[in-house]
Subunit: 221 residues, 2 copies
């Protein structure tokens, strides 16, 4: 039987961002199937649930290896393991969260992170009233301790949840402290040097996907 795991690490620059983004969707759907008691699936079933064609699913996965079994399809747990390995979430990542307002508190309590392999191990805020308190079991440190704490606690990823005008400054401190990647929740585009992987979370983007469909449906009906 052929080896089902990816044989070589993909070049992250050679794989379209959209493919990586769909891997996350496949992973969630597979986790959902497992929770429903399903052991195997097919590219057409996986695609149908998510609104993609089976060809799209096969093409996306073909970037990373061959994962199907003749006459069986995909084994859900095996494909989950393979995708997590590709995404790098087959281990836990240590995350530092900057900004403990409502959004920061929501992120600290968000169950979806731990489920997918992310653990917020440190939190930072510049409000002296918050510094030293515990939020969801995580101690809030001052922003001055950011660089030192990132090194001591071996934090690999930073999440930015400060107001937009402060986000760039926080990003600069994270980069200077040697962070590997940044996920920015502030509604502002950050300029970060090419050495650090930075992704912005734009909470209005999904709303725009919905209004695109709803308004064009109304106009077309």
């Amino acid at each position: 039987m052929p080896e089902q795991k990816p044989e070589t690490r993909p070049d992250p620059n050679a794989v379209p961002v959209a493919v990586v983004s769909r891997l996350s969707l496949y992973l969630r759907e597979l986790q959902h199937l497992i929770a429903d008691g399903k052991e195997t699936t097919s590219s057409s079933q996986l695609g149908r649930q998510l609104g993609f064609t089976d060809a799209q699913v096969r093409k996306d996965l073909a970037h990373f290896g061959h994962f199907g079994h003749p006459g069986i399809g995909y084994r859900c747990d095996e494909l989950i393991g393979a995708i997590r390995k590709i995404l790098g979430t087959d281990r836990q990542w240590r995350v530092g969260l900057v900004g403990i307002g409502n959004l920061g508190r929501a992120l600290l309590g968000y169950r979806g992170f731990e489920q997918q392999g992310f653990r917020i191990v440190a939190a930072f805020d510049n409000d002296p009233v918050k510094v030293g308190t515990l939020v969801d079991g995580v101690e809030v440190c001052s922003l001055e301790q950011l660089g030192e704490t990132i090194n001591q606690q071996q934090i690999e990823l930073g999440m930015i949840a400060v107001p937009a005008p402060q986000a760039q400054q926080v990003a600069d401190v994270l980069v200077a402290a040697g962070i590997g990647g940044i996920v920015n929740f502030a509604p502002v585009t950050l300029r970060v040097s090419g050495q650090v992987c930075q992704v912005g979370v734009d909470l209005a983007r999904e709303l725009e996907q919905v209004t695109f469909v709803v308004s064009n449906r109304i106009a077309g009906s």
Copy 2:
């Protein structure tokens, strides 16, 4: 001079989701350019800032019409107007938010929504302590008032920010009340009938994009 606006409404099913998603990115980048005092741009400049090729930018926009001017490129404000019209955000949308925990409060305070044309006009929670209070100027109603309020207040979109186990039930009530579209922030996949456009916001997805790049870089170096 040719008319620069889209002449016909696109069929929302014929345009790939990824294209719509990139329209949001182009829109943000154009807004950023305007804020920086730039009046015109090109597909290569727009693409470079976002990590896409100029061919990708042109192909995406070509789904909806011709927006460039010979010798000038794109006029930023004109292209912003065209994209907002395509996305349906050239007007304000009335949004109802369900779940006033930390995430709900963060969403109520999130400046990015108003900037892009979304106004949360009603909030709902099943906690009697919260019902009747004002959060960011919006009165919290009980879940029992959901259907009635959606009709009275002409709410078109619902945002779900309740814990995962309650999300499906809330979606069912929103659908029954005749909502046009749903954006789900709970870390769970909803099953919604095809008549209602539903998009899930997966806060771990962007983290996975970052770990993909960071872990494959480490492995490749």
